[in-house]
Symmetry: C2
Subunit: 548 residues, 2 copies
């Protein structure tokens, strides 16, 4: 492995930690808990792990010798900056309990547990990956741990390796599944604890107990760096409108955070679109109006941030997609007989009025994507829709209409961008490096305390790290019942952008001004060595949420 | 202007400078010069500015008081990191000569000179922009200063503002034009000196006298940061081939430098494609072979770097485009009558055999781009061709053939990226901040020394900055005659990647290994405050070129 100069220097970084985790640690049980909703159902589903107390770690005066323990760790789902530091923190935490404890990594995600693919994570390996991005130490995967057969198959290898605790690093679904696994192992007396860690760059795993999920800080900073660079170019060349799509299928936290960091001219927030029942036409008008107003001031340039999942939040688009899925499933053979050049008019003729009109208004490329590129279940693949091109083209068409009417006389040229993979594996910012290391270390402490069905928790993270509060939250506490694929399931509620929350309100209060004034901010690249004001600032979202 | 934490801290950075420029400066004339080729013709075209000596600055013991002078500055062409520092260095250099000297910036490029749009650049303005990216202090533009009328029009405002020297910051063409302007003003006794500064992120303005053009260092580091992040993701998820197109129309320096920084599995170098007379099919086979070999080792993932200008370097594609331009110009009306769905077969039937076969082999989208999206002169707009998609699709098709033949059994899923605007306006790296400041300061010294028709020069930049050599190079020295738009013109030779040069050889020596071994390097973001090994390293290209 050839290392860059930065990697070599950054390897020496020692993550900052809460005072409570430095030295001997005492687990203090708090009050017993209830789930956020559907208490009766969730209690029934989790008889062994429901209602446990919140755990807080405190500094202890007596260092207890721990028996050695073998622990397994799994990375689940999409990459997020800081995953390696969770593992490093877990490793150091286990070793501080007993230097003979061992850590095993399951390879390529939950699948590694089921297929018995693993490696021992020795000090040499851990040291190679401290403060690095990516999940390449052991790889990740998207297999869902949901079925009894998987749990039993996993238990075989856990027993073989004498593993007594499993740490699952993942998003909301992975943590839900970790809890189901904890419950199952407890119910059969398997003697394996299960601990979760909150990960997702999307930022949608957060609630009263979990301030933020790791990776969000770094990813947003990388996206804001390149958005800032594009804005500086935009403001220098003064001739393009840049349409920038940002990762985030189900929530717009990333787009919102990047907007707070960079002050673009427009930022669409999916949750607002849905709440206000906005149409595609409304959004196009909204952007075109900003373009028009800026052009009147001689500014034929600007930036628009678009969350990846937007299309699924537009109620009318959702209805169109639903009817299309339904119609094409029923008329597959007939549709396939239609000539390519006539498919569009065929669809327009067949849909109900509202959907037909919306479909007819879409640019050809997107209309084609909606009918042609379908997943194995016959559904439209919304993630393939190039929303940034869709909006740029439709705004262009609207402006052309306004030009014909004499309302608009500006120039409109566009550039399109999509940022996702650029940020998911960046080396973690100080915040994520510290936060992740502490999460991992706290997971080790939860294991030492004999806990299962808990999520590792580090709070008060807008304060200096020594004031952070580390502990564990019973996963059932965050659960409610939701309909998933047709049946009611216990899940951790996904955290969408709250329109009454401080981050959105901060954006809403200034967006009119940002639209017209060109108040671009250029955050620049993540810094690891400079003054604390530059290196250690948490996200604007977190700062605003904690400001009380 | 809202400033980020990094901007606020970075504003205090004091660029490192060559010893010779600190304090009193003496201009020492070297030997008289000749142009690199076509000496007679160039001498005839530049009777007043031909053959001047190379100038080197040395530390002087006596501080000479300079008379105050008014100077103008222009940013020409595409943005490049460090432009503001050239202006800051120029400002400080002028003020060190006489605090009553004044600097005027012409707005939005050479057009500002012709249209008499300008602003005075006071200390307050300069300080706002020190060490920042972008050209937004005065803006840039692409108007070419080529005609006598433009020169005369410009002279009006120069006289009105009592400007005695003009600094033009631009690429090869802008510097050529700066020299033509210098020659003209000298020939008519206008009393206005003209000095050029070498800028282009593409890295294609370099030669024996100019080590590098500014912006290349920063832009390549930004691209390498995101390529590295993508590679870490690629190596963690282990399921995608990422096709990454990089800015650089006429030369592949950026792709080559990024390859040296990140070790991708494949990097295409346009100059090699042309030299070896490779076809699109050759390139597709070359990439597909790497995909095949990696899949045999279980690695169904990888990265491919593609220079933006590739298509124009493939001899067969160049011939196809030429015939298409020619054919469509002659048969425009006829072609417009053809139904969209039949255009492709119409074109295939009409082209000569070789071109027809190549056209037929192209994916539909690209074939359509070649016939439909034409510039106002009726020519194919090569820059709009999505080369990364073209190659990804054709490689996919090739692998499907091989799969049918039983040669290939892997999986091939792709992600596409294009990086250009992300790097052009990044805040300059230490290298570019220092280099640009010195270039600007040296330009002021050339003005104080009464020079015209010179390009500001700073050399030996792989050594510590105090050992850098500052001076001026007569622009005519870098010129030769080339055919441009049908007529022979004096121009600065564009520096393409040399296949016998050290950077390409370093890449060629290791590419087989990088193709199969997954030796990705993760350079991480540009650092401004850390150890010198991280913050001050010049590009690999420059290091290899200077290593003798």
């Amino acid at each position: 492995m050839t290392k860059s100069a930065l990697q070599i220097e950054r390897a020496h970084y020692v993550p900052k930690m809460p005072t409570a985790l430095r030295g001997a640690v005492k687990a203090v049980d708090g009050e017993y808990t209830e789930s956020v909703a559907n208490q009766e159902e969730i209690k029934k589903l989790f008889p062994n792990t429901y209602g446990m107390p919140v755990v807080t770690f405190e500094k202890s005066n007596e260092k207890k010798a721990m028996p050695p323990i073998n622990v397994g760790v799994i990375l689940s789902g999409g990459q997020a900056p800081g995953g390696h530091n969770v593992i490093a923190g877990l490793f150091d935490g286990l070793k501080s309990g007993n230097k003979d404890s061992r850590l095993y990594g399951f390879i390529l995600g939950p699948g590694g547990l089921i297929e018995h693919k693993y490696m021992e994570l020795t000090a040499g390996i851990i040291d190679e990956y401290r403060n690095t991005g990516g999940f390449d130490m052991i790889g990740s995967g998207r297999t869902k741990l949901e079925q009894k057969e998987q749990f039993d198959k996993g238990l075989e290898i856990l027993k073989k390796l004498n593993i007594k605790a499993l740490v699952i690093i993942g998003g909301d679904d992975s943590n839900t599944n970790a809890c189901v696994l904890a419950e199952y192992y407890k119910s059969i007396g398997a003697g394996v604890q299960v601990i979760g860690c909150p990960k997702t760059i999307d930022g949608d795993l957060k609630n009263e107990q979990v301030e933020t999920s790791f990776g969000f800080d770094t990813a947003c900073k990388v996206y804001s760096e390149v958005i800032g660079n594009i804005q500086r170019d935009c403001n220098s060349a003064r001739k393009y409108w840049h349409f920038i799509k940002l990762m985030g299928r189900s929530a717009s936290h990333i787009a919102l955070e990047c907007a707070l960091q960079t002050h673009p001219n427009v930022c669409i927030i999916s949750e607002e679109v849905e709440a206000k029942n906005q149409t595609l036409d409304d959004i196009v008008n909204q952007i075109a109006t900003v373009v028009l107003k800026r052009s009147e001031a001689g500014n034929n340039f600007g930036t628009v941030l678009i969350p990846e999942g937007l299309v699924e939040f537009i109620p009318a688009m959702k209805r169109l997609i639903a009817e299309l899925n339904d119609f094409l499933a029923k008329h597959e053979t007939e549709f396939k007989m239609i000539k390519k050049s006539e498919q569009r008019s065929y669809i327009i003729a067949k849909l109900t009025k509202e959907n037909s009109e919306l479909y007819a208004s879409l640019p050809e490329g997107v209309a084609r994507q909606l009918t042609l590129e379908r997943d194995p279940h016959g559904n439209v693949q919304v993630s393939l829709i190039e929303t940034e091109k869709l909006l740029a083209e439709m705004v262009g068409n609207r402006l052309a209409e306004w030009k014909a009417e004499g309302k608009y006389t500006g120039k409109f040229a566009t550039q399109m961008h999509f940022f996702g993979y650029e940020g998911r594996c960046a080396a973690p910012s100080n915040y994520d490096a510290d936060y992740c290391y502490s999460l991992g270390y706290a997971a080790a402490c939860l294991i030492h305390a004999g806990k299962t069905g808990y999520m590792s928790s580090v709070r008060n993270t807008t304060a200096p790290a020594d004031k952070w509060i580390a502990g564990g939250i019973p996963v059932t506490m965050m659960m409610n019942m939701e309909r998933r694929h047709g049946e009611m399931k216990p899940v951790i509620q996904k955290a969408l952008v709250k329109l009454e929350g401080a981050p959105f309100k901060a954006y809403a209060a200034r967006r009119e001004e940002w639209a017209l004034s060109t108040d671009y901010v250029y955050p620049g690249p993540i810094q690891y060595f400079g003054p604390s004001s530059v290196c250690d600032e948490p996200t604007k979202t977190l700062q605003l949420e904690q400001q009380k």
